[in-house]
């Protein structure tokens, strides 16, 4: 029996608008990577797909590559190109 890896996803700006939420819990399969969290979202929201090249990810508050592994309880954030100031 496979135990799912639960992660909390944070979304911002256009990504949050497309998802209709700034935050959600995802249950991923075994040995998931950042990539898998993104794919789970993009499957439900195909408009996200074109945004991937410009999106950066952060794992537990630090910039992370899309192939970085995720652990149960991790927080993954997806960050569109920034526009502060």
């Amino acid at each position: 029996m496979t135990v799912p890896t639960r992660v909390r996803v944070l979304a911002f700006a256009r990504i949050a608008e497309l998802l209709g939420a700034r935050e959600e819990e995802l249950a991923l399969g075994p040995n998931p990577r950042v990539e898998d969290a993104w794919s789970a979202l993009a499957q439900r929201n195909p408009e996200l797909t074109v945004l991937k090249p410009s999106t950066r990810a952060a794992r537990n508050g630090r910039i992370a590559a899309f192939d970085e592994p995720l652990a149960d309880g991790d927080e993954v954030a997806f960050l569109p190109p920034v526009g502060g100031g």
């Binding site: 700006a13 952060a58 508050g61 569109p80 526009g83 502060g84 100031g85």
Partner: protein
């Protein structure tokens, strides 16, 4: 040193955080909501949001870099989030140093890097309806 503000910013309070006994020069930058976007469209205002914790820690790194590059400078900043109207202050960066050379250079560095690196987003709210998320030039590292 970066504070994310949900209410109007008081630039004087940011300045007050950098003053110290032997500072001779303070440079403060205010970023203000303009009535025209860069592409010429008229806006009613801007909507900002931030990934607070990460914006704060990224700006700590920027301030540390400023001290490495420009010596003994005190840096403080505040960035507002939510809906802002034209004329309101979106961001304040204040730097105090012994002399003005370093104060100018460090303030410029801090606002440039904040704009480039801090996870903060801006949506232009157009007078004729609708809105668009706008990225700064030279995003990322």
């Amino acid at each position: 040193m970066l504070r994310i503000a949900r209410e109007p910013i008081d630039p004087k309070a940011v300045e007050a955080r950098v003053l110290s006994e032997n500072c001779g020069g303070v440079v403060t930058f205010l970023g203000i909501v303009r009535e025209r976007a860069d592409d010429g469209r008229s806006v009613n205002g801007l909507q900002y949001e931030a990934f607070d914790e990460m914006a704060v820690s990224e700006f700590e790194t920027v301030a540390a870099e400023a001290r490495e590059r420009f010596g003994n400078v005190n840096v403080a900043a505040e960035h507002r989030v939510g809906e802002l109207r034209v004329g309101e202050v979106a961001v304040v960066v204040s730097v105090a140093a012994e002399h003005r050379d370093e104060a100018f250079a460090a303030c410029r560095y801090a606002i440039d890097e904040l704009k480039r690196r801090a996870p903060i987003w801006k949506k232009e709210l157009y007078v004729d309806g609708g809105g668009e998320w706008k990225a700064n030039a030279c995003n990322g590292t």
